[in-house]
Amino acid sequence: MYSKKEVKKAVYEGLREITKKEVITIKDDEKFSDYGIDSLDRMSLLLEVEKRLNVELGDIDLDEANTIDSLYKLICDKYK
């Protein structure tokens, strides 16, 4: 349903909103936690991605969705 590019764009926009930084450099396989995004901000990130992609991610495990790659996979599995 969503391309990796779309999910990544939603994540980047969400991170801009959360970190208030214009430049986001996180890699696809880099953990959000290693990028300085704590557990609370990761909840906010899920909300931001939900909003941008019009999906429901409430049942996604926060620890499993800790990279762009894993979040993309979880979204694809849910919305295939």
Partner: protein
């Protein structure tokens, strides 16, 4: 016209320093100060029962307004951590400890963080329906009774406290139209497990629910009361955490100075968190104060107070 007249509070003076537990719970100063927001948590002593916390809150009320025990027509205790095993109702035990008359109505309501907003509406309606002049709403929900002290999700959050709000026919603030909501599908988001008898919380679920549902209700409550958010002087949100209060402020596009976070030293005191702040801000004489409580159930409620 029945409304809020005065508030008494009790904050136990046993404080746990969250900064001293950073290593134990694998966290850091920034997370405690700026995200959770609770630098210390107040906890009752082991010997104190829920009703004892209520008594102390009532004593604080009496310090402000003088002796009023003979004038009370009804009391409600809002708690989900009652005295003993919950039977008899904590309000009956409190009734004895306060030395109230026989013809005083006393009952408990089982609500958590939405309990204060529900409670003042319930008490106001009960008083109005029965011609009562003075009623007391107690909030006392010591989560220390059920915390798993090694659970990082909950152990850094909750404090014990109690409040006693006097509703009377000569109030300082009227309670305007309120909004109430429940989502039982989230029943297990905050739960005390029967076997383990300890609290567990699905933080993500609670956060997502709060950010999605509470702003909608706040806007509805403003609309129901024909008010714009700019006309509200202060927004008192349940002090779930600084992060949640900050995020609600941002989502609703409110000025930070209108949304107090005042629980740094006490923690999330469940249904006491709103009245603890109200006690401090009522003397400032704001015209409109919006209250919004949300949490276990999932349950949420919003109302607006208007100064007389």
């Amino acid at each position: 016209m029945i409304g809020i007249k005065d508030i008494g509070v009790y904050i136990p003076q046993n404080f746990i320093d969250n900064y001293k537990r950073m290593e134990e719970f694998e966290t850091n100063e920034n997370f405690i100060k700026n995200k959770i927001g609770f630098e210390t948590l107040c906890r009752k002593s082991v010997e104190e029962e829920t009703s004892d916390l209520c008594v102390k809150a009532f004593e604080d009320l009496q310090l402000q307004i003088g002796s009023c025990i003979d004038l009370i027509d009804c009391i409600i205790v809002c708690t989900q951590n009652p005295d003993g095993a919950g039977l008899p109702q904590t309000s009956a035990i409190l009734h004895r400890k306060l030395g109230l008359k026989d013809n005083v109505a006393a009952f408990d309501i089982s609500l958590g963080c939405s309990g204060y907003v529900y409670g003042i509406s319930i008490l106001k309606s009960f008083m109005r329906e029965n011609g009562f002049k003075n009623g007391l709403l107690f909030t006392a929900d010591p989560y220390s009774k059920v915390l798993n002290h090694s659970d990082r999700n909950t152990e850094l959050l909750f404090g014990d406290a109690a409040t006693c709000t006097l509703l009377s026919g000569q109030p300082k603030y009227l309670i305007l139209k309120s909004c109430f909501a429940t989502d039982g599908s989230g029943w297990d988001s905050i739960i005390v497990d029967k076997q383990k008898a300890t609290l567990s919380m699905k933080g993500k679920d609670v956060f997502m629910f709060t950010m999605k549902k509470v702003p909608i209700q706040i806007k509805q409550c403003l609309s129901d009361n024909t008010l714009k958010k700019e006309e509200v002087d202060i927004f008192v949100f349940h002090q779930a955490s600084k992060y949640i209060v900050d995020n609600l402020t941002e989502v609703l596009d409110l000025p930070e100075e209108k949304v107090p976070f005042m629980s740094q030293k006490v923690g999330n005191t469940i249904s006491s968190s709103i009245p603890l702040i109200l006690k401090e801000i009522i003397p400032k004489g704001h015209k409109f104060i919006l209250l919004s409580g949300f949490g276990v159930g999932l349950s949420w409620a919003t109302t607006i107070l208007k100064k007389i």
